[in-house]
């Protein structure tokens, strides 16, 4: 994994103690982990610096970038601080502060990264009911049970900017449901076998 020189240079701004006090850095990092975890930010970046906001914006952009990139590559917090110390020459206590925030926000950033991608409609729930047909226009005899199954699926919709829930509905007879359940149980058994592979 290579981090571009431009980001390294921006990160070196961390050593400017007189410009970025510990307090400012703390706020910056808290914002960073919040923004990457899809939460709303706590502080206004522009107000953290008095007059010239160039450097704080540059630093902030690079902080966001390295956090995201290191999590994307599943790097440990040790590797992260090692990078800061050796490749960016960050002072030790600053690097430790960054490492702390990295460790804290690692899982939520990872979750966000995992949630990027194209997936098929995902089944998240199922509803069912059992019907008995008492009489119909073409059929005098009662019939049943008939199972009405409704699979709840979710898929990201770009216009909704969120999951679009769709129900796939179908009916089946007892025998057919038996077949379906058998196939699903087969899949479950397969998973369970894989999960317990090491114990046997």
């Amino acid at each position: 994994m290579d981090i571009e020189e431009k980001h390294k240079n921006y990160l070196k701004l961390l050593n400017k103690n007189e410009k970025f006090s510990d307090e400012i850095l703390d706020k910056l990092l808290e914002n960073c982990s919040k923004a990457l975890s899809s939460h709303t930010e706590v502080y206004d970046i522009s107000s953290l610096s008095q007059d010239d906001t160039t450097e704080i914006k540059q630093l902030y952009a690079s902080l966001l970038y390295v956090f995201a990139q290191f999590v994307r590559n599943s790097q440990s917090s040790e590797e992260f601080s090692n990078f800061l110390l050796t490749e960016c020459d960050i002072e030790k206590d600053r690097a430790q502060l960054l490492e702390k925030y990295y460790e804290e926000s690692y899982n939520s950033i990872r979750m966000q990264l995992l949630n990027i991608g194209n997936y098929l409609p995902h089944i998240t729930d199922v509803r069912w009911k059992i019907d008995y047909m008492v009489k119909s226009s073409t059929w005098d005899q009662s019939e049943g049970p008939i199972f009405r199954v409704s699979l709840k699926t979710e898929k990201f919709d770009s216009t909704l900017k969120g999951p679009k829930i769709e129900f796939i509905e179908f009916s089946c007879t007892g025998q057919e449901l038996q077949d379906l359940v058998y196939k699903l149980k087969d899949a479950v058994r397969h998973c369970q076998k894989l999960a317990n592979n090491h114990n046997h």
Binding site: A61, L114, H122
Partner: protein, 513 residues
């Protein structure tokens, strides 16, 4: 046997079994120590078994506890005689056998290591296993409350993020996270330049193209937006240029202001000097003042000469004193120089000594470690050495036994030849005398005497062999006696009787209850 005992005791100590330092053979083992040893052996063979390491106080529970232990040892496959008596009324031979058996059954250390998968594929498989285990064990929740919703998985959606590079830009450009929506932030950070304009793609792919006007519309709006963007860019550039101009002008202004200040200062100093010069000129203009000034100057000159004389008077003794002091100082200096040299030398020797000391310390440490190593290792080496020695001894003894056997065989041969000789000489003399005895009376007597002599001799021989046998038997019996004495049955019998009495007492007590 002592060597074996030492090995056993050493191994037991390794099992955290407390055995006093002064116990070095199994003969000194008390039932308590035997129980502790067996318990700790059993505990390390099967960690689930956890026995107390001491005998209970009550006699009946003692027997029960001891038979439990005995049963477990038998379950492990011990073939010999094993019961509570082996533990409670122990003798060293049985205890040795049991402990050797148990120590052989101790688990090997290597088997306790847990296997960790190595390599990429096994690691992945392990991860899959773990994740499946976690997934299958997790309680099902509706997707609305789940963290990882596949429904929330959005495709990569990027925008170009702009990082300001100058003050002017920074004033206009918000921080990167405000340049896009929260869901766009991560992909935009990570995949710079991978921007895909989804809206354009969607329009061209979903709308039918036969609608010419529509397409034109799009094109014109696109063109319009492009024009606006161009215009904006130009304006932005203009603004940046103008700002730069303003800044340059500001700088020039500041410089000019500074220059003005500096010049004003110069002006002030010059006016000051001018004022002073004006005053002095006014004073010097009158004649009276000039005379007064001359007198003043004269007086000052006189005073100066006087002061010089005074000074020389004061100076000469002081100079002398200075000379002497300098001399003494130089002497002292020489002395201190010497002292310093000495100190230097001392320091040197001190340094050397310290280095020496350090070397010695290191050597000592190394030796201590080596000693430890030796101590830990030497048991094995020493034992093999001892074993080799013992083997050598045995060989030596074997040779001696061989020698003695040869000796006895030679003696036996001698005896055999001698008896043969005796027999032969006897028959010869018998024949001779028998031949003569027909003629002579004395010969007859001699023959009779010979017969008696032969009988007596035989008797003596018999007696000697009997004696030898008796002696051998005696020795056997003595040995047996020694063995019996070693077993000290009396003590044990006494102990058994005491225990029996105690059990009776307990039983009575129980009955009384």
């Amino acid at each position: 046997m002592e060597e074996v005992d030492k090995i056993i005791i050493e191994s037991l100590r390794n099992l955290n079994c407390e055995i006093d330092e002064d116990i070095d053979t199994l003969k000194k083992f008390t039932p308590d120590i035997v129980v502790a040893a067996i318990s700790s052996c059993l505990a390390s063979i099967d960690p689930q078994i956890n026995h107390p390491k001491k005998l209970p106080p009550s006699m009946s529970s003692r027997i029960k506890f001891a038979s439990d232990l005995a049963q477990q040892i038998k379950d492990l496959g011990f073939k010999g005689d094993m019961g509570y008596q082996t533990i409670l009324y122990c003798n060293d031979v049985d205890v040795r056998r049991v402990l050797m058996f148990l120590l052989e059954h101790l688990p090997k250390e290597s088997s306790t290591l847990i296997e960790e998968p190595i390599g990429y594929v096994p690691k992945i498989i392990k991860q899959i296993e773990n994740s499946l285990k976690e997934d299958l064990g997790r309680f099902w929740l509706p997707s609305e409350v789940c963290d990882r919703g596949f429904g929330h998985c959005s495709p990569i959606d990027c925008v170009d993020l702009i990082v300001p590079s100058s003050v002017e830009e920074a004033a206009l450009i918000p921080p990167v996270n405000l340049q896009c929506s929260t869901s766009q932030l991560l992909p935009s950070l990570l995949f710079e330049g991978a921007k895909v304009d989804w809206k354009d793609v969607e329009i061209t792919s979903t709308k039918p193209l036969d609608d010419d006007i529509f397409v034109e519309d799009i094109v014109t709006t696109n063109q319009n937006t492009n024009e606006i963007i161009d215009e904006l860019k130009q304006k932005k550039d203009l603004i940046i240029e103008l700002r730069a101009d303003v800044n340059a002008n500001k700088e020039i202004l500041a410089k000019l202001k500074q220059q003005i200040e500096e010049e004003q200062q110069v002006l002030e100093t010059k006016t000051n000097t001018l004022k002073i010069k004006h005053k002095t000129l006014a004073v010097l203009s009158s004649e009276d003042n000039k005379l007064k000034l001359r007198n003043l100057v004269q007086k000052a000159e006189n005073r100066l000469v006087e002061l010089a004389n005074q000074w020389s008077q004061v100076q000469t003794p002081l100079l002398q004193e200075l000379e002497t002091l300098k001399n003494s100082a130089s002497l002292e200096h020489i002395e201190t120089q010497k002292d310093q040299d000495r100190l230097q030398r001392l320091k040197q020797t001190h340094k050397e000594l310290v280095a020496d000391y350090k070397d010695k310390c290191l050597l000592e440490q190394g030796l201590i470690e080596k000693c430890k190593d030796l101590n830990s290792k030497n048991s094995r080496a020493a034992y093999t050495k001892r074993i080799l020695e013992i083997v050598g001894n045995i060989q030596k003894q074997k040779k001696e036994i061989q020698k003695i056997l040869l000796d006895t065989r030679r003696v036996q041969k001698d005896i055999n030849s001698l008896t043969g000789q005796v027999d032969r000489s006897f028959t010869l003399s018998d024949e001779l005398i028998f031949y003569d005895c027909k003629q002579e009376e004395t010969s007859r007597r001699a023959y009779k005497l010979l017969a008696a002599l032969r009988e007596e001799c035989n008797k003596i021989l018999q007696a000697v062999t009997d004696m030898g046998q008796a002696e051998r038997e005696l020795r056997n019996l003595e040995e047996q006696l020694e063995i019996e004495k070693n077993k000290d049955f009396r003590d044990k019998l006494d102990k058994v009787q005491r225990d029996l009495a105690e059990i009776r007492k307990e039983i009575e007590m129980l009955e009384g209850k």
